[in-house]
């Protein structure tokens, strides 16, 4: 075991600190090629990652970069810089520590490349960018260790795949590099270790003491939860009371919109004027930083937040975590709970607040899962090819490369260990020529093969454009929001679609205040203050997570109990009524109810496949129903069911669930759907076909020059259906927004056992679905009918109809 520098040892002794067993274990394994540490929040995880570095650098560190630290959040990198610098400075160790993220100034970035610090703290995107420079080899020369913090958060997305490719590149530049991953509790540590290690190197796993079980319960409220919706307004007084009783409360929400609404309601009920803040990813950076600073100073009693506070920034004295809305995912819930009580070996305290009646059941299932230590998670599947395309472009930016060598390098990254040469070559072709069946770009290839066989950028200037578009984070397109007037204060961002739906005078919530939409100026939403107490439009949408497979299965198990002493009376009675009137959905079977309601026929399909899959199922089923002449008009999906309404009753649901037919629907009809187009846009952007950022000098002036990526998708589907990007889009459709994988899993689970209940009226379990937002009208004929109706109404209302009618009569009728 390497020794800690005496100064550091003395400092530890003076503070009365001793090393945790897992910190000692990390020091002992300092020489291993890869180690994964799994430890709960507050377990001194980050220190465990850095101790070997401090030991190796010692009291007279040599020049050059020694350790690279990668975290998923810029804020976390900045936080670690503070926390690491203060002991190093206190002790007087001559170790230079600096961070480098999207927020770092250009001059500082330049200096870091020429003269790197001993420890550089960064994010996957900034690291990918660093490796794209021609001088990357010099910047990283001498690098010994990489520490990946919160690797569990990165591993769930393409950011992790990109990071592993960047590590493979670093390994080429600095052979013998050692890797350390720091992770919260995960369901499959082995998979995480394989992701981290240089394939096929071994990777030992160090498990820290997980600490005592959390103290977690459902919050009792006087008022009953509503039947549908996610606002949890009924719980405001009870949550307010909890804030009063605790020092600092973190109130987590699943979406930014829900956080905004809850914060607004909380503020209206805050008669004592307790200091309460709001924090989420759409808020302006300045505003977020003010809240973070106030939090660190211990000035806030509560903070309403989203996943933006999920990760390990040390917020000090949090003694209660409140989760509003069903947690959707047990693992995330456990990680959030860990935010309370940052002291090791003290139980964290958490309360769940179901936002509606169904979520009461879901919260109960989640509580049981936490008690059983049953975490959920789906295997990620092989590394996505859009990320690989970006990696090939990054490699080309840093200099000419040999395809064979790059292929070997890529396969040393865990997610790409089993990448076939054919797939690699397709990606390379795509980067070079676009990879189209029609060879159109021989003259304008992006990459060219030189006579010596190496690949390079045809035009070296394109490196700048590639670098500007590095990264895999796919926020939907957003617009900045500002107060009107010169130098108006930036407030945050809203989605482009939301902005397009606003008309002057509309009011909405952002950053906890009500603002009035004034207009759009140079792609900035301008707003003014509004004195109203109720916003006209709730707020922007934000991501919705689907309930995990495990949690869905637990809800079905809970249903099977038959009586529910652990549930609040109102919810137990509701389930009992459903069982009497119809039946409760069961694992291994599919319940389909059909009934007439409000003059329309309804069919409710309890697939328990999660929101995204139920949505896709709605699209596929309505299409099939249209073919069968059932005239569906629309549907709405939740995490557990899809409710479809239309003109004709559903007599036999079985043919609708023929797996072959559904699969054909995905390949054929669904291919033209907006969800597929969004999926395509994300992959096309990552792969470098669509550029999100363009150098200012080359930016077009008119808006009409920009055309939608949907057009590219339609064109490819029509003329080049086997193109790499469409293959990638189909693979992506197995998860994410389309989530076809969970439909297939459901079909397998039910194995054709379908219970059709024909009922005389709407059932207790189906009723809340009618109150859900996000109803989807069936496209095609319905859309055209709606447009015609609305056009006629507008023409009449404006008086233009009469005017143009007279005009038309004066002119001769057309032939044609």
């Amino acid at each position: 075991m390497p020794d800690l520098p005496p100064k550091l040892r003395n400092w530890f002794a003076a503070k009365g600190w001793s090393l945790h067993p897992h910190q000692r274990a990390m020091l002992e394994r300092a020489g291993d090629p890869a180690t994964l540490l799994i430890a709960p929040t507050g377990g001194g995880k980050t220190m465990a990652g850095f101790l070997p570095t401090l030991a190796e650098l010692g009291e007279t560190p040599p020049e050059g970069l020694h350790t690279l630290y990668v975290s998923p959040l810029k804020a976390l990198a900045a936080d670690i810089k503070r926390n690491l610098r203060s002991p190093v400075e206190e002790i007087g160790l001559p170790i230079r520590i600096d961070d480098r993220t999207g927020d770092t100034s250009q001059t500082r970035k330049k200096r870091q490349r020429a003269d790197p610090p001993h420890i550089l703290l960064t994010t996957p995107e900034s690291l990918a960018l660093l490796t794209s420079y021609e001088d990357a080899e010099r910047t990283f020369s001498g690098l010994k260790r990489v520490v990946v913090d919160e690797i569990h958060a990165l591993a769930e997305s393409k950011r992790g795949d990109q990071l592993m490719l960047a590590l493979a590149r670093l390994e080429t530049l600095c052979p013998g590099l050692r890797r350390v991953g720091l992770s919260a509790t995960v369901e499959d540590p082995g998979a995480m270790a394989r992701l981290l290690a240089r394939h096929p190197d071994p990777c030992d796993i160090v498990l820290a003491d997980p600490g005592p079980d959390p103290d977690i319960a459902m919050l009792e409220t006087d008022e009953l939860p509503p039947w549908a919706g996610g606002g949890a307004a009924h719980a405001i007084p009870a949550v307010m009371e909890q804030i009063r009783r605790h020092r600092t409360t973190l109130i987590f929400h699943n979406t930014r919109a829900q956080a905004e609404i809850f914060f607004h309601n909380l503020w209206l009920a805050n008669d004592e004027g307790l200091p309460i803040g709001i924090h989420h990813g759409s808020l302006d950076r300045g505003q977020r930083e003010r809240v973070e600073a106030a939090m660190v100073r211990g000035e806030l009693r509560a903070i309403v937040c989203t996943g933006s506070l999920d990760l390990g920034i040390d917020w000090g004295d949090v003694d209660l975590v409140v989760q509003v809305g069903a947690p959707k995912n047990v693992k995330r819930l456990v990680q959030r709970i860990g935010r309370a009580n940052h002291r090791y070996n003290a139980p964290s305290k958490a309360l769940l607040v179901p936002a509606n009646r169904f979520e009461v059941v879901e919260c109960m299932a989640a509580l049981e899962a936490v008690r059983d230590h049953a975490l959920d998670g789906d295997p990620r599947g092989p590394g996505p090819l859009d990320v690989l395309c970006q990696q090939i472009l990054i490699a080309a930016c840093s200099g000419p490369f040999d395809a064979d060598a790059l292929y070997d390098e890529v396969r040393s990254a865990g997610p790409y260990a089993w990448l076939s040469r054919a797939d690699f070559d397709d990606c390379l072709q795509f980067c070079a020529t676009g990879g189209y069946a029609l060879r159109a770009y021989d003259k304008w290839q992006r990459l060219q093969q030189r006579p010596d066989g190496l690949w390079q950028l045809r035009d070296p200037r394109s490196a700048q454009r590639i670098r500007m578009n590095i990264g895999t984070i796919q926020d939907s397109d957003t617009l900045k929001v500002r107060m009107r007037g010169r130098g108006g204060k930036p407030l945050g961002e809203v989605e482009e679609g939301f902005a397009a739906s606003l008309t002057a005078g509309d009011t909405f919530l952002i950053g906890g205040r009500i603002v009035r939409y004034e207009g759009l100026r140079e792609m900035t939403v301008e707003v003014s203050r509004d004195k109203g107490r109720k916003p006209k439009i709730a707020t922007f949408m934000g991501t919705k997570f689907a309930t995990s497979t495990q949690l869905s299965a637990r809800i079905l198990d809970l249903f099977a109990q038959g009586d529910w002493p652990q549930l609040p009376r109102h919810t137990a009675d509701w389930l009992a009524l459903q069982a009497r009137m119809s039946q409760l959905p069961q694992a291994g079977r599919l319940l389909v109810e059909s009934f007439a309601h409000d003059g329309r026929e309804h069919a409710c399909v309890y697939g328990f496949a999660g929101r995204n899959a139920q949505q896709t199922l709605g699209l596929l089923l309505t299409k099939r129903m249209e073919e069968l002449g059932l005239a569906p008009l629309g549907f709405v999906a939740s995490d557990y069911a899809t409710l479809i309404w239309g003109l004709e009753p559903l007599a036999d649901p079985a043919p609708l669930f023929d797996p072959e037919a559904l699969r054909d629907g995905l390949e054929g009809w669904l291919a033209g759907n907006a969800v597929m187009k969004r999926t395509f846009r994300a992959s096309a952007t990552i792969a470098g076909l669509i550029e999100r950022n363009i150098p200012a000098a080359q930016r077009k002036t008119g808006r009409q020059a920009v055309f939608s990526s949907d057009i590219l998708y339609d064109t490819l589907a029509k003329y080049d259906p086997d193109h790499l990007l469409l293959r990638i889009t189909r693979t992506e459709a197995e998860r994410g927004l389309v989530d076809f994988g969970r439909i297939e899993e459901m079909l397998e689970r039910i194995g054709g056992r379908i219970d059709h209940m024909r009922l005389t009226r709407i059932t207790p379990l189906a009723a809340p679905l009618l109150l859900e937002v996000g109803k989807v009208p069936v496209a095609g004929q319905a859309e055209n009918r709606l447009m015609a109706e609305e056009a006629a109404r507008l023409m009449q209302a404006s008086g233009l109809a009469a005017l143009h009618q007279a005009e038309a009569e004066r002119s001769a009728p057309s032939r044609g």
């Binding site: 159109a440 363009i694 020059a705 003329y719 080049d720 447009m787 015609a788 056009a791 005009e807 057309s814």
Partner: protein, 220 residues
């Protein structure tokens, strides 16, 4: 021809759902902003290699409109090519196809801001084409009447029961009609953009293209 019938300066015209304008009495078909060769130009300027099927797709749709209408005259209202080099770089196959479409018809290229000069193809190149009482030009001229123009790529939305449908649109008032862009790789400019809102009269209509043409008061 299926579309929206209207009259401009006493002439009966049809706005087709495809985005083309049809003048039955003259058997004249007018299309605007084809932007042929756009993917080539983007690649040439280092902007990436987009699917190179845009010219083919635009010509496919134009061929269908020509077959249906049996037009004797075709007026391309400018920005027919994404730039002059794109016109010159048109692949042989697409060049021949275009020639086939031109055979037996009068064909007028109006110069646009993207293609201000000769493109080395058959047809007449004009800065504008008067066919009394109408005149065809690329960019609308304030104060003109009986004017058919393009350039702006107008689009408009209908919002109904929480659904918004946005389509390329003709803009129409008693002085002029502005055509939507016909080319496959083209975006749109909302009718409420100040350039369009000041150009068009208060009572202007937007005609949304698609399987059916829907007329609405022009959103401003």
């Amino acid at each position: 021809m299926n579309g929206y019938d209207f009259s401009l300066a006493g002439v009966s015209l049809v706005a087709l759902g495809t985005g083309a304008l049809w003048w039955p009495d003259r058997a004249l078909l007018c299309v605007s902003d084809l932007h042929l060769g756009k993917s080539e130009r983007i690649a040439r300027r280092g902007g990436g290699t987009l699917p190179p099927y845009d010219t083919r797709d635009t010509l496919n749709r134009l061929a269908a409109d020509l077959a249906r209408s049996q037009a004797r005259t075709v007026v391309c209202l400018g920005d027919s090519f994404d730039d002059l080099d794109a016109a010159r770089a048109l692949p042989e196959e697409e060049r021949l196809w275009l020639a086939k479409l031109q055979a037996g018809r009068r064909w007028v290229w109006i110069a646009g801001n993207h293609d201000p000069g000769p493109v080395g193809l058959a047809g007449t190149l004009l800065t504008e084409l008067p066919v009394a009482p109408l005149s065809f030009r690329h960019i609308a001229r304030p104060g003109a009447s009986g004017e058919v123009s393009g350039h702006y790529h107008p689009k408009a939305s209908i919002r109904s029961r929480g659904q918004t449908v946005t389509r390329a649109a003709f803009l129409l008032d008693r002085d002029r009609v502005i055509l939507p862009a016909y080319g496959t790789y083209t975006g749109g400019l909302r009718s409420n953009n100040s350039a369009l809102a000041t150009l068009m009269r208060r009572e202007a209509l937007a005609l949304l293209t698609g399987a059916e043409v829907h007329a609405i008061p022009m959103p401003r």
